[in-house]
């Protein structure tokens, strides 16, 4: 109990002192997860929309595959990306292993199936009717697709929130492909693991609380967008 209260105190101390190392870790975490969620959305939403508009019969295998990938353990995703990007791997020549780029790739691979899968389910529930209505009003293919995305925006925002929740809290994949290098690839979750291993539980709890507070603010922002979409 005293460790928990000391952890809370440590969290406030870290926030108030604006510790340079902490700020660096926080900004790197936000940069990596932020970029990953943006790229994951740009891939996942069109993919989910496309699959959601096709008949279930034709996309059965793709659906099963996406649902399976939604539950991929982060360490497995991290391991696969590690094998691809390591010096001996097929993309080793790019020198991406133990860089923030490798961490972004790992997080994209975790967020995209979630965004695509949940978008697909959302589009499937109403998409066919929306397409028929848009078509009956003379919309071309581009406008039809945009209308379907707009009509499914509440579900899509829910998918993005879920995807973000998964990657901001993720540790296994970024640890494997990033290497938890201080000042370069250390993010909040990997720092928490390191401090726990070192026995610095107060600092680990403090970092954990900061991560939760950040996650709360980001999710509140996304939730407000979603609420706005519902009432507009």
């Amino acid at each position: 109990m005293s460790q928990l209260s000391e952890g809370i105190f440590e969290a406030f101390r870290l926030i108030i002192s604006l510790d340079a190392d902490l700020l660096q870790i926080v900004f790197l975490s936000l940069r990596i997860s932020g970029l990953s969620i943006i790229i994951g959305t740009l891939i996942g939403v069109p993919l989910g929309t496309l699959l959601g508009l096709k008949s279930e019969k034709k996309t059965r295998l793709a659906s099963k595959l996406i649902f399976t990938l939604m539950g991929t353990p982060p360490v497995v995703a991290g391991l696969l990306i590690y094998l691809l990007l390591s010096r001996m791997g097929p993309f080793g020549i790019l020198g991406l292993i133990y860089t923030p780029t490798a961490m972004i790739i790992a997080q994209i691979s975790l967020a995209t199936p979630i965004i695509a899968g949940l978008t697909m389910v959302g589009v499937r529930s109403r998409g066919k009717d929306v397409v028929e209505t848009a078509l009956s009003l003379g919309a071309g293919p581009g406008l039809i697709t945009w209308t379907v995305i707009k009509e499914s925006r509440i579900t899509i925002l829910g998918a993005i929130i879920t995807g973000f929740g998964r990657i901001i809290a993720e540790v296994g994949a970024v640890m494997i492909v990033g290497g938890n290098i201080a000042g370069q690839t250390r993010v909040m979750t990997t720092a928490i693991v390191l401090e726990t291993r070192r026995g610095n539980f107060e600092l680990a709890i403090g970092l954990g609380l900061i991560l939760l507070i950040l996650s709360f603010f980001i999710n509140s922002f996304l939730y407000n967008i979603q609420r706005g979409a519902r009432s507009n």
């Binding site: 209505t133 848009a134 009956s136 009003l137 003379g138 009509e151």
Partner: protein, 193 residues
């Protein structure tokens, strides 16, 4: 044209529907369809009515003019900025018809547009249909199970039973002196099934 037919062929003005998607879209843009179960987009009433005009790249000024005039015609101007999916059944159907005729289609297809509506809204929609047909010269093909409604608004009637044409002709002939016994029984309000 929204789905591929299981069998048979589709002709518009005596010409088969083209396979080319651009030509199909061009042809489709001359028609409008209002479904029995209307789907209005999760947007304002105004934007719903403007949808078909935006799809046809009308100028902003032309869209404003047309949408405002139509909303006034269907008595929905006071609800122009209300979210369309919060409207009542009758209001939603009025918006759907306004949306469908906004771009002056040559042909308007209505699939039981007054099903499950109260008499007040039925009268309002029937008047709208008559007005569109008379003032804008739009050909209206309307599906209805309501023989009284068909009698009130149709010029020409096609009587279908189990997907097959039983009889077709002017409304006057069908309702006063039909050729087929089945038609006679139906227009007299007796069961034919």
């Amino acid at each position: 044209m929204l789905t591929r037919p299981d069998s048979g062929h589709l002709y518009i003005h005596g010409n088969p529907v083209p396979a080319n998607s651009n030509r199909r879209l061009e042809l489709q843009r001359k028609m409008a369809l209002v479904f029995q179960k209307t789907l209005l987009f999760r947007d304002s009433v105004w934007n719903n009515v403007a949808y078909g005009l935006k799809a046809r790249n009308y100028s902003r000024k032309a869209i404003e003019l047309k949408v405002n005039r139509l909303l006034e015609q269907v008595g929905m101007q006071s609800l122009a900025y209300r979210r369309a999916d919060t409207l009542s059944g009758g209001e939603a159907q009025r918006v759907a018809i306004a949306r469908a005729v906004a771009f002056d289609p040559e042909l308007l297809l209505l699939d039981e547009p007054t099903a499950n509506l109260d008499p007040g809204n039925i009268e309002l929609i029937e008047n709208m249909i008559r007005q569109m047909n008379r003032d804008k010269n739009i050909t209206v093909i309307m599906v209805t199970h309501n023989v009284f409604q068909a009698r009130r608004i149709a010029d020409e009637v096609i009587f279908l039973d189990k997907g097959k044409i039983v009889e077709m002709g002017s409304a006057e002939k069908i309702f006063t002196n039909p050729d087929q016994e089945k038609t006679r029984l139906y227009v007299e309000g007796r069961m034919i099934y």
